[in-house]
Symmetry: C2
Subunit: 138 residues, 2 copies
């Protein structure tokens, strides 16, 4: 069991103890907005995560209850990673990261997604959470 040390009782600090690194939220992005679910798919992302870091982060996310690991439906030698409700609750955070990055940094964001988020954050958050939940039932 991967355990994390809690630096203080402040919710901002404690959230960062779990999510505060360069990779964790990218994995959740891949699950929610790109529809990925397997180790191999995570490795193919543009940012090129190292295999040991990926294995470590998946273990932490599972230990902290943000994702579940299950044998894939199509192949018994594959695993499927899905978000729990605790994991799905990070979607608003990722939405804020999209909006901040798109506004203040040189990035390339899908214009239709951006418009959707700017029109109504809450609606978009609920939509992507619902889509991820539906995928988990396949």
């Amino acid at each position: 069991m991967k355990e994390l040390k809690q630096r203080s009782t402040c919710p901002v600090s404690t959230s960062l103890d779990v999510l505060g690194d360069k990779w964790t939220l990218l994995l959740i992005r891949d699950i929610v907005f790109v529809g990925k679910s397997t180790y191999g798919q995570f490795l193919q992302s543009e940012e090129k995560i190292a295999t040991n870091i990926l294995a470590d982060r998946l273990a932490v996310l599972e230990a902290q209850g943000l994702i579940t690991k299950a044998v894939a439906a199509d192949k018994k030698s594959k695993f499927t990673y899905r978000l729990t409700e605790k994991g799905l609750d990070t979607v608003p955070l990722i939405v804020e990261l999209v909006l901040w990055g798109a506004k203040h940094c040189p990035t390339i964001a899908d214009p239709s997604l951006l418009a959707e988020l700017q029109a109504s954050k809450d609606t978009a958050v609920e939509k992507y959470q619902r889509l991820a939940r539906e995928k988990a039932l396949e």
Copy 2:
């Protein structure tokens, strides 16, 4: 000039290149929600940041245009760190961190702040951004 390498053009990834670590958003929390503005005040936080890490993060935040550094009004040998508009735009992110941490982790949050955030995120965000802007004019 502290420069960061951009791993991809994705806004989530690029935001994390700047904000994705355990300390950066804690400093912004201290400025916005605790009203801190000097090196010495940042050092006193519960999480106990090391002095070299603090100096490094302040330099990165200034280089990336999230904070400004100015001689303090009361004492010429002191510096005052304030948020720019780019920095203030991370407030929604911190609000989401508060809400996620308070909901899913064993934390101690100010109940009145929590109620305020849950009642209306947007209103609260605007309020704390306004308060931070007003402080910058002192």
